[in-house]
């Protein structure tokens, strides 16, 4: 890789140990150029970024292009198993992967709050760079804005991603058909509970880590095992319940799952019990739901279980004909209930 041939217009280095984000870091002048040079460009280095243009000009392999964008506002910024930086890479990579796309490039937009410690920003940027390297994607263009103190929450990050979908892959949320099998790649609720355990006023001790991870490699293994796969979706905000309702509505079908088949860690179940939350509605950042024809289910499940990110994969239910597009569940007790969309925020019950 060529070293950047940019003459440094600034004398000193950024004080990445004790410095803070200042309004001038977003105002287009020397301070901003220095922040970009010493922090972002240094961490994300790649041929496109090294050209220092306002845009990246890309040549893509053949195939359909998938594109997605997501903004990250997680609080707290650092949590067990990840931080806002790694999350901003994994979340967008996964949205591409759910279309069967191989993710290639990301953009990164930062909205920083004046007064935010540069040391924390450095940690976030380096974690983001590490996550991108591991996922095999490059952050090829970006933007930095600074808002006054009190008008942000430390750091907000937006990432946009593009990827290429190999020929013959047709994954879409509207392709579920009655009789299809519903698979889940692993335990529910790890991310949501890990984040909540760190929240002010709620701190509880847990060894639990966020499941935040890039899933495109797992997806590739699943597609290789069964090209007839119909839909993939990652159950992030709103949890499994929201994802199944989305797929049911898009495909105009009902879905029926079995509570006994859904993998949930004991720590997550205990925390949910304590806080009055339902794990079906808690966010995940490294799990996916797959719908496939019944004849493919065994092969897909085997491929998932053979991959480290799908080791606890399970067949959790089936797609049904239903004019109301309801998602229902057979409970542990053997009764039935509706699994509705989340209403409002999931708030703890009081007694």
């Amino acid at each position: 890789m060529n070293a950047p041939r940019v003459r440094r217009p600034f004398a000193g280095r950024l004080d990445l140990e004790h410095g803070q984000v200042e309004l001038s870091h977003g105002s287009g002048g020397r301070a901003m150029a220095q922040l970009i040079e010493d922090l972002f460009a240094a961490a994300f280095r790649n041929p496109w970024l090294d050209q220092r243009n306002d845009q990246a000009c890309l040549e893509l392999p053949p195939g359909r292009i998938a594109m997605t964008t997501d903004s990250y506002v997680v609080s707290p910024l650092f949590f067990p198993g990840g931080d806002i930086g790694s999350l901003a890479v994994h979340g967008t990579v996964n949205d591409l992967a759910m279309a069967g796309a191989w993710p290639l490039h990301l953009s990164a937009g930062f909205i920083l709050e004046a007064g935010f410690p540069l040391a924390d920003l450095k940690r976030i940027v380096e974690s983001m760079a590490q996550a991108a390297r591991t996922a095999g994607v490059s952050i090829v263009t970006g933007d930095t804005k600074v808002v006054e103190c009190g008008k942000g929450d430390g750091v907000f990050i937006n990432t946009t991603g593009i990827g290429v979908i190999p020929e013959d892959i047709q994954l879409s949320g509207d392709r579920a058909r009655p009789g299809d099998c519903i698979l889940l790649s692993g335990t529910l609720g790890d991310h949501g509970v890990a984040v909540m355990s760190q929240r002010a006023g709620l701190e509880f001790e847990t060894t639990l880590k966020s499941d935040s991870a890039a899933l495109h490699d797992l997806v590739a293994a699943m597609i290789a095992a069964a090209p007839g796969l119909r839909c993939l979706r990652d159950p992030t905000r709103g949890g499994l319940a929201a994802t199944l309702n989305e797929l049911a509505t898009q495909s105009s079908v009902g879905m029926h799952i079995r509570e006994v088949a859904i993998p949930i860690r004991a720590e997550v179940a205990a925390a949910c019990e304590l806080l009055g939350l339902d794990p079906l509605y808690v966010a995940n950042e490294g799990k996916l739901v797959a719908v496939c024809p019944p004849e493919d289910a065994d092969r897909v499940l085997a491929a998932m279980r053979a991959h480290p990110l799908g080791a606890a994969a399970a067949l959790i239910g089936t797609v049904r004909e239903d004019p109301h597009w309801f998602v229902t569940m057979e409970t542990l007790l053997g009764g039935n209930r509706l699994v509705d969309w989340l209403s409002g925020e999931q708030l703890p019950r009081i007694c």
Binding site: G201, L202, V260, A266, A269, A270, E273, L275, D278, H324, F326, T328, M329, E330, T331, L332, L333, G334, G335, N336, R337, L338, D340, S343, G344, E345, L347, P348, R349, I350, C351
Partner: protein, 375 residues
């Protein structure tokens, strides 16, 4: 999960369901009210209705503290929250409930009011200690379960001589509400649904004991079984009620023996009596005015009473006219009998008391049971 899994065991549930089906007589029906919102939630969340025979109907009572708080009281809390010197704190469930004009604490918070969601009364006290320059008001709600912790923090605030901590007290009492339900005209009229027996509250009874239910069981000739909150607790309690009704017994039985005694928690009761006294009358959303059904802060702790520290003007607030909450809470109507249910009134846009919290009868039915009507 230990202490949880054994109360959610599928095989045990099937066994209980079989026994209920065998013992429920074919020549009669069993209308059983679970008073407590926690039971309503458990019944629907675990799909218990379709494990019961058609002759057993569960009626969902008014034991959801968030649901029964009248709009007028919530409006007062909203007024308090918008005072610049005030930090208002309350339990999570309370934040979503709409007051007049659809305004809620969550909306007020988004608009800039300083409102904190807390998980314990102790957190309210900590907040006051951390912000000595602000007035911290604890918007206290709940039945006898959440009342002792509120009493405790008021006493602690008195010991610490905290000048910036007050409680807006909205604690309500279970036994007067159950007695009121049984005295309501609908309970006696022909062609309306009678309540044959009660599933008594779990956590409330840990505090007050099983004794307070004995009087109205006798007076109104209705059996009571105090039930734990786990699904197998609920099913076993239903079986116990069916047996009492079949045998013509009218007793207060305790299924939740692992936590409830006849006398209850004397220490918690003393604490409540030291700090609180009954209000002459309190308005319940959906049920109307019930005498001696709520608590207020005693004179000796007046300094910590938000109603005394801040000027409060209760405004008249009206319930939507077509709302059937009152009749639903008395078991006379079902959620689906209401014209507003799933049309104008949904969990996103709740109009009536029963839709505001996941423990309310309409919200629980909407969230977990709606598919059965459609099937």
């Amino acid at each position: 999960m230990k202490y949880i899994d054994e109360f959610r065991d599928g095989a045990a549930a099937r066994g209980l369901a079989r026994r209920i089906a065998e013992e429920a007589r074919l020549d009669r029906s069993y209308h059983l009210m679970e008073f407590c919102g926690g039971h309503t939630h458990a019944i629907y969340r675990h799909g218990i209705p379709n494990l019961l025979p058609a002759s057993v109907r569960m009626i969902h009572g008014p034991g959801c503290p968030v649901c029964v708080l009248p709009i007028g009281r919530l409006d007062l809390a909203l007024d308090l929250a918008t005072r610049p010197e005030v930090i208002l704190c309350s339990y999570g469930d309370m934040l979503r409930v709409p007051g007049s004009g659809g305004h809620s604490l969550l909306k007020a918070k988004a608009a800039g009011a300083d409102i904190h969601m807390i998980y314990s009364a102790a957190a309210a006290l900590t907040l006051a200690q951390r912000h000595p320059d602000r007035e911290v008001v604890f918007f206290a709600i709940g039945f006898e379960t959440t009342t002792p912790p509120t009493a405790l923090v008021i006493q602690q605030a008195a010991q610490l001589d905290l000048p910036n901590f007050t409680v807006f007290c909205n604690h309500v009492l279970t036994p007067p509400a159950i007695a009121h339900l049984l005295a309501a005209p609908e309970a006696h009229e022909l062609d309306t649904v009678p309540i044959d027996g009660f599933l008594g509250p779990a956590h409330v009874s840990v505090v007050i004991g099983s004794e307070p239910y004995e009087r109205f069981a006798r007076e109104h000739q209705r059996p009571v079984v105090i039930a734990g909150f786990e699904p197998l607790d609920v099913m076993q309690s239903i079986l116990m009620l069916i047996r009492q009704l079949n045998e013509g017994r009218v007793e207060v039985e305790n299924q939740y023996t692992r936590a409830v005694t006849r006398a209850g928690n004397r220490k918690a009761q003393r604490l409540m009596a030291e700090v609180f006294e009954p209000r002459p009358v309190f308005e319940w959303r959906g049920l109307g005015s019930i005498p001696h059904s709520a608590l207020q802060i005693r004179e000796r702790y007046a300094h910590f009473d938000a109603e005394r520290r801040f000027p409060m003007m209760e405004r008249a607030a009206t319930e939507p006219r077509a709302c059937l909450c009152g009749a639903i809470l008395r078991g006379v109507k079902k959620p689906t009998d209401c014209k507003l249910f799933d049309t104008a009134c949904t969990p996103e846009t709740p109009l009536g008391a029963c839709m505001v919290s996941s423990e309310g009868a309409c919200a629980a039915y909407y969230r977990y049971g709606r598919y059965q009507e459609a099937a």
